[in-house]
């Protein structure tokens, strides 16, 4: 083959087109900013509704937003905490006006610990509220979408100065970013009535808008996931104990940095409690709570500090046992739960009221666990469960 000039022109044209294309795609994604990390100008009806930022890209988005918003009060936990605990809650606003909910879908204990470190490295935290779920302890150490590189502190405790530059390519030039870009524009057109401020301050309300069929499907998916995640607790005690190491690390870190911490166990829905009970996992569930209490007090004693408040909202109480959708009544709308896995904002408000010292109208909803009352509380919860079973024979 001769080295004629035409292949050279081909290579030049190719290079030019390639560079132009890459720049165009990157600029388009920066302009729409689907992950809400570039602080791009918001145009109502065009890019104000950033669904992905609160969805599957949450680990990326929340690490970046923590770096940008520099919150002083942080909410953490799984999607349950994320969807129901509002940063605008008055009890939180009295602590600081800069509150951020960094709840992550399927968060693990390790990830929660690392995000606390990340946030505190950027802006010293005054208060951290963490919703605890057993699923944070019986899963893998970290999810696939978790990345150490995007956090301001490395696992070894040293500063990671390049964290602001990670994910630049994936957020500007990736198929995922383009998909998120399209979703943002679609959703923004569909939700013209929702303002960006609404989304920021009352995001969970909009997540609760779903059609009856979507709710019924979500209810069934939640039960299915509960069977997968909580249906064999008896075999998972070793994993749970292993993951407790990160709970210890979190407690030690928060004590050392003198951050106020409030922990609470999520109000599991009846369907989840029944999966645990019927799969003989109740003993493991209780043993997990004992570990939480014991370690909370042991680490505090080691640090010569008062142990952190640890609340328990789980159990067969009147919220968890409210009438729920069933094949006979698939479109039943629950008051306290969106579906079988996530509680509503109204429940989240009750939780925040309770743990931050405001009065609530349900005296049996939420109890502070200590080494002194733990066994009594567990006994009472067993009685509640037995009474429920008796009533529904």
């Amino acid at each position: 083959m001769t080295n004629d000039p035409s292949p050279r022109r081909y290579l030049s044209a190719f290079t030019l087109c390639l560079i132009a294309g890459i720049l165009l795609v990157s600029a388009w994604n920066a302009f729409v900013d689907p992950f809400d990390i570039y602080n791009a100008r918001t145009r109502h009806g065009f890019n104000h509704f950033k669904a992905r930022a609160a969805g599957s890209a949450d680990r990326l988005v929340k690490a970046k937003q923590i770096a940008r918003l520099r919150p002083e009060v942080l909410i953490l936990g799984t999607s349950r905490a994320d969807w129901a605990l509002e940063p605008s809650h008055p009890a939180l606003q009295t602590v600081s006006t800069n509150v951020y909910n960094a709840g992550l879908a399927g968060a693990t204990m390790y990830e929660v610990f690392r995000y606390v470190q990340h946030a505190h490295a950027i802006q010293p935290l005054t208060l951290v509220v963490i919703g605890l779920d057993l699923e944070m302890f019986n899963a893998e150490e970290k999810r696939e979408s978790f990345s150490e590189g995007r956090l301001a502190i490395r696992p070894d405790g040293t500063q990671n100065r390049s964290h602001r530059w990670t994910d630049r390519i994936s957020s500007l030039f990736s198929h995922d970013a383009l998909e998120a870009n399209r979703e943002t524009r679609d959703q923004s057109r569909r939700h013209r009535d929702v303002t960006r401020e609404d989304l920021r301050s009352r995001g969970s309300e909009y997540r609760e808008q779903a059609t009856p069929d979507e709710r019924w499907r979500a209810y069934r998916v939640g039960v299915h996931q509960a069977r997968a995640n909580l249906g064999r607790l008896g075999d998972q005690w070793d994993i749970i104990l292993d993951r407790m190491e990160h709970f210890d690390r979190l407690l030690s870190y928060v004590h050392r940095e003198e951050i106020e911490l409030v922990l609470f166990i999520s109000p599991y829905h009846l369907s989840h409690l029944e999966v645990i009970r019927l799969s003989d996992g109740w003993d493991t569930f209780e043993a997990w709570k004992r570990e939480l209490v014991t370690r909370n007090e042991a680490v505090a004693a080691l640090k010569n500090r008062r142990s952190f408040a640890l609340w328990d909202f789980s159990g067969y109480h009147e919220l968890a046992t409210e009438p729920h959708p069933s094949p006979d009544d698939p479109h039943h709308v629950m008051t306290w739960y969106r579906e079988s896995s996530h509680y509503r904002k109204i429940t989240g408000d009750l939780i925040l009221d309770r743990i931050l010292g405001r009065p609530i109208k349900f005296p049996t909803f939420g109890v502070e666990l200590t080494g002194d009352n733990l066994e009594v509380i567990l006994q009472v919860q067993r009685q509640f469960a037995a009474a429920f079973v008796e009533r529904n024979k």
Binding site: M1, T2, N3, D4, S6, P7, R8, R9, Y10, L11, A13, F14, C17, L18, G21, I22, V25, I169, S170, F173, S174, H175, D176, L178, R217
Partner: protein, 508 residues
Amino acid sequence: MLFNSYAFILGFVPIAFLVFFAVGSRVSRRAAMGWLCLCSLFFYGWWKPVYLALLLFSIGFNFFTGQAAAGRFTAGDRVRKAVLAAGITVNLGLLGYFKYANFFVGQVDALAGVSLTLTPMVLPLAISFFTFQQIAYLVDAYRGLAREYHFIDYCLFVSFFPQLIAGPIVHHGEMMPQFASSTRRFNAADFSVGLSYFIMGLFKKVVLADTLARFATPVFSAAEAGGVPTLFEAWGGLLAYTFQIYFDFSGYSDMAVGLGWMIGIRIPVNFNSPYKAAGIIDFWRRWHMTLSRFLRDYLYIPLGGNRRSTVRVFVNIMITMLLGGLWHGAGWTFVLWGGLHGLYLVTNHAWHTWRTHCGKQGRCLAARAVGRALTFLAVVCGWVLFRADSLPSAVSLYQGLAGFNGVSVSDNLAGTLAFLQGWGLAFDDMGSFESDGLKWIALGMLICWLLPNTQQFMQRQEWTERSGLCRRIPVWKPGRTWAAIMAALAIASLLRLQEVSEFLYFQF
């Protein structure tokens, strides 16, 4: 290091080729080859440096064994034969130890009821490929068909990074003369052809194969976990896998061919539109062509090939295909897959023999179409064994394909097809398969059945004859239009590099 990674595309390849051209034009051809050799070893060691020692041992051992088998140190035929036998034994021994030891120990455990233990080990990348290439070299050296090669050229022949990990399986006779002769200066014409090949391969892998995997993997994983795929789930997952494996493996091969072209080295093509095959014999002339060539030249023909009685020919085919199946992986599913294709080939040969006996020649258009459809169906059914992680999951998939696990359709059709519920039809959430999976499978069919393949687009190989619709599709030319098309394909592919996935054939 994966071809479909930024590290390879933006780091390794530019450095390797820039230095190669600079050294080739300013120092010497041998130095350029030495540099390529170093790059190839670095490429291999990137994955697991410890296995670099294995590759280097294998190269050194086979080079000197080949010299001995060729009679360089002794002229005695018996000694040369013994050297050849020892060389093949060591190669197969290493392959057997790393790839099959656990499998055989497991079988002994199961049969004898004992509990032998063997530490699980990681399969050294590409061992199946470099072992076969070097066995071919040893045999040819013994036969006097391999010339005396320079050690660096030999080292590069075995470790040449474009084809080291997953083929094509190259023959020393086609590679070494190229290392020794062609120019090592940048050639824009070659480079533009190679670049286009590479981009088409990358697109096949990261856009087509990886997207199809999203619809195939859940079905096979569910079957492995004890799930029972229903009729449409099983067929959907299997068809998605059928096109996934083609785009994955042929994409890798295209990238390898392209990388070769960029530096003026021709690597043989490995696929020639296999799903257009009109019979199973034809299929194996189009699928993983370099493996078929190796099995034919170094196993089937030495067994007697087709020069023996009909029964013996069929036995030879079965042996070749069973071992070919086992080459792909240490598991009964692979052996059965090879055996199934052996039976297909025997049937196809018997059919040809019968037609010849009856004096029938040629086939009408309809017969060819039926032949193609039957061949495709047979190949698709075979992929169940190839992909399934275990025999029980393969059985579950076959039951699903036959409808024994029930029939369920999208719950969006619940209103329209409610009257079929009494006949056992169920309605289920089909997820993204319904909205996207069907489109991607249809696209796979369109590309595989109606469009020219990569080398036909490029018109750079001998098998470029195009018929039917393919003839009307313009071929690649180094002009502005194709530059824009290739840039678009490259952008679509680069956009997906964030979601890195391994090539399927890395496991073999």
